[in-house]
Amino acid sequence: MSEEQKSSAPGEAPTPGFVPRIQVFEPHRASLPPLGSYLREFWKRRSFALELARFGDKAEYLESNFGKVWLILNPLLLAMVYYLLVAVLRGGAKSATGLTTLAHILIGLFTFYFAQNVINNGAASITAGGRLILNQAFPRTLLVLSSSISSFWQFLPTMPVYIVVVVIGKYFYPKTKLPLFNLSYVWIPLIIILLAITSFGLALIFATMNVYFRDTSKLLAYTTRIWLYASPVLWLPSMVHGWQRSAIFINPLGPALAATSNVWIEGKAPTHAEIIMMFVWALIALCAGGYFFISRERDFAVRI
C-alpha cells in the first residue's frame, strides 16, 4: 500500500473534475508496508470483503440442490456419528446423561467447525483469488477476512439448531440438568469474537504458507482432524484434571471451546483462566498472523 495524499493545490486539470490524488510507492521497511495507510485502506474497503463473502456464498450454493441446508446437515450428521461412537458404544445413550453428551458434541462440533472453516477457507483464499491479486492493489488480508465472514454466516444458523435439539431432548428427558436460556449466555458473543480473531490470525499464517507450499491446505485437512480430537469437543473439559488441563490451554482453540462447553452445557460463566487465555491466544494469533502475512504480501503477485 502507498501513502495516499490529497492536495487542494490547483492542478493543471488534466481531466474534468480531476482532484490530485498522489500515491507514492516506495520500498517497504522491514518487509512491511506503511501500516497506518494499510489499515486505513483495509477499513475503507471492508465492504468489498463483505460483498465478496456474500457473492461467494451465492455462487457456492447456487448449484447445490440442498443449498445452505448442507451447512447444518453436515455437522449435524457428523455429531450423530460421534455421538454413536462416544455415547452409544459406551452405554447410557438413552438417558439424561446421553442427552448431555449429545448436546456437548453438537455445540462443540458447531463451534469447532466455525473455527475450522475460518482457518481452512482462509488458507485457500489467497491462492483462489489469484487473478484478483494479479489485477488489483488492495490489502490481501481482505480476502482472508472475506472467507472468515462467510464462515461466520455459515455458523450462525447452527445456534438455533442446537437450541431446537435441546428443547426436544428436554421434552423426552425432563430430568436432565442440561441448561437452556440462562444468564451465562451473555458470554457467548465474547467467546465467538475471540475465537473468530484467533482463527483469523491462524488463517493468515496458513494462507501465507499455502502460497509458498501448495500442499498446506491438504495438510490442514488432517491437522484439523487431529486438532478436533485434542480439543474439548468429544470430551468434556471437566473430564481432565491437574497437568492434563494444560492440554486445553496450549491449544489456541482450547480455551474458547472449553468456555463454550461451560456456558452451553454447564450453564456457568467461563473460568478466569479460560477468559485470560482466550484473550492471549487472540492477541498472539492476530499479531503473529498479521506480521507473517503482511510482510509477505508483496511476494503473492509473483508466487501465485
Partner: protein, 276 residues
C-alpha cells in the same frame, strides 16, 4: 521554457515537489523478487530437503533495473518488449500491486487496471454480479458501481440475456468484453491495460479504440502493454521498449516499433504487427 505548477509530496526521504501535469513519475526503479524453481513447491518437499541439509532452490529475478520514466497526463504510452522483458511487472508496480525494491513511483490520479484476463471473475456468478464485484475490488463503493453498472453492461454489448447468466457460459470473447468494459468505465485518470485489447470481435475492438480515444481527449492517461504492434502505433503517442528489465529506447511509436522489429530480425509483416 514552460514551468509547470508543483505540489508538495511526502516521501520516505522528505517532502519533494511534484509537477501537477505529471501522471506517473518513476525514479530509479528496480524490482527484484525471488522465485522457487523447485518442480514441487510443497511443504513435504521442503521438509525432505531440510532433512537432507539442502535448501529450497530459489532464483532471483531482476525484473526491472534502474528505470526512470515520466508520463504526463493525457499521454498514451505503449510498452513493447519480448517475453520476460518486465512489462507486466512494470504495470503492476505502477498499479501498486508490486512495490519497488529500490527507487520510487509517484502516481497522480485514480488508476483502473486490466492486467490479467478475467480479473478474478467468479464463473458461477452472472456478468452483472461480477461487474459489481469488479467495481468493489477496484475501490468503488457499492452505490458508485451500481450506478455505473448499466453503462458497463451497455458498453460490453453482450447478446440478449447473457448478462444475467453465469460467466462460465460465456465465450472467451464475451468474458474479455465484460472485463474490458469494467476497466474503461471506471472513469480512471490512469488506465493500465496489459494485453487487453484483443477482447471481442472487430466491432468491439473498434468500440474499444473509440472509447480510448475519448479518454485521451479528456486528457486521461493510458499505458498499454501489447504484442500487437499495430495497436501501439495506432493508439500511442509515445512508446518505450523494455528488454530484460531495462529501457532500451523511448520515443515515437513508429520509430520504437521499427527498432524493436529490427532487434527481433523480423519485418513489418501482418503477423508481427498484429500478434507477436
Amino acid at each position: 521554457m514552460t514551468t509547470s505548477k508543483t505540489i508538495k509530496v511526502k516521501t520516505a526521504s522528505g517532502m519533494i515537489d511534484f509537477p501537477t501535469d505529471m501522471a506517473v513519475r518513476i525514479e530509479d526503479l528496480s524490482i527484484t523478487y525471488k522465485i522457487n524453481v523447485d518442480t514441487k513447491r510443497t511443504l513435504k518437499n521442503a521438509i525432505m530437503r531440510a532433512s537432507k541439509g539442502e535448501k529450497v532452490r530459489m532464483r532471483t529475478v531482476e525484473a526491472i533495473q534502474h528505470l526512470d520514466l515520466d508520463i504526463p497526463h493525457g499521454s498514451v504510452v505503449g510498452i513493447v518488449g519480448a517475453n520476460g522483458a518486465g512489462k507486466s511487472t512494470l504495470m503492476r508496480s505502477i498499479a501498486g500491486i508490486m512495490p519497488p525494491t529500490e527507487g520510487r513511483i509517484i502516481v497522480n490520479g485514480k488508476i483502473s487496471t486490466l492486467l490479467a484476463l478475467g480479473v478474478g471473475f467468479n464463473p458461477a456468478l452472472s456478468g452483472r454480479d461480477n461487474i459489481i464485484l469488479g467495481g468493489l475490488a477496484a475501490g468503488l463503493t457499492k452505490e458508485e458501481i451500481t450506478a455505473k453498472a448499466d453503462e458497463i453492461i451497455d458498453f460490453a454489448g453482450l447478446p440478449e440475456g447473457f448478462i444475467d447468466m453465469p460467466v462460465r457460459t460465456y465465450s472467451s470473447g464475451m468474458y474479455g468484453r465484460v472485463a474490458f468494459s469494467v476497466a474503461v468505465n471506471m472513469t480512471p485518470d490512469i488506465l493500465l491495460l496489459d494485453e487487453a485489447l484483443s477482447a471481442g470481435d472487430a466491432s468491439f475492438k473498434e468500440k474499444s479504440f473509440n472509447r480510448m480515444r475519448e479518454l485521451c481527449e479528456e486528457a486521461r492517461t493510458i499505458i498499454i502493454v501489447s504484442h500487437a504492434l499495430q495497436t501501439v502505433t495506432d493508439l500511442c503517442d509515445t512508446a518505450i521498449w523494455l528488454h530484460k528489465g531495462k529501457m532500451i529506447a523511448k520515443g515515437e511509436p513508429e520509430e520504437i516499433v521499427d527498432k524493436y522489429l529490427a532487434f527481433l530480425k523480423v519485418g513489418k509483416l501482418p503477423t508481427s504487427m498484429e500478434d507477436m
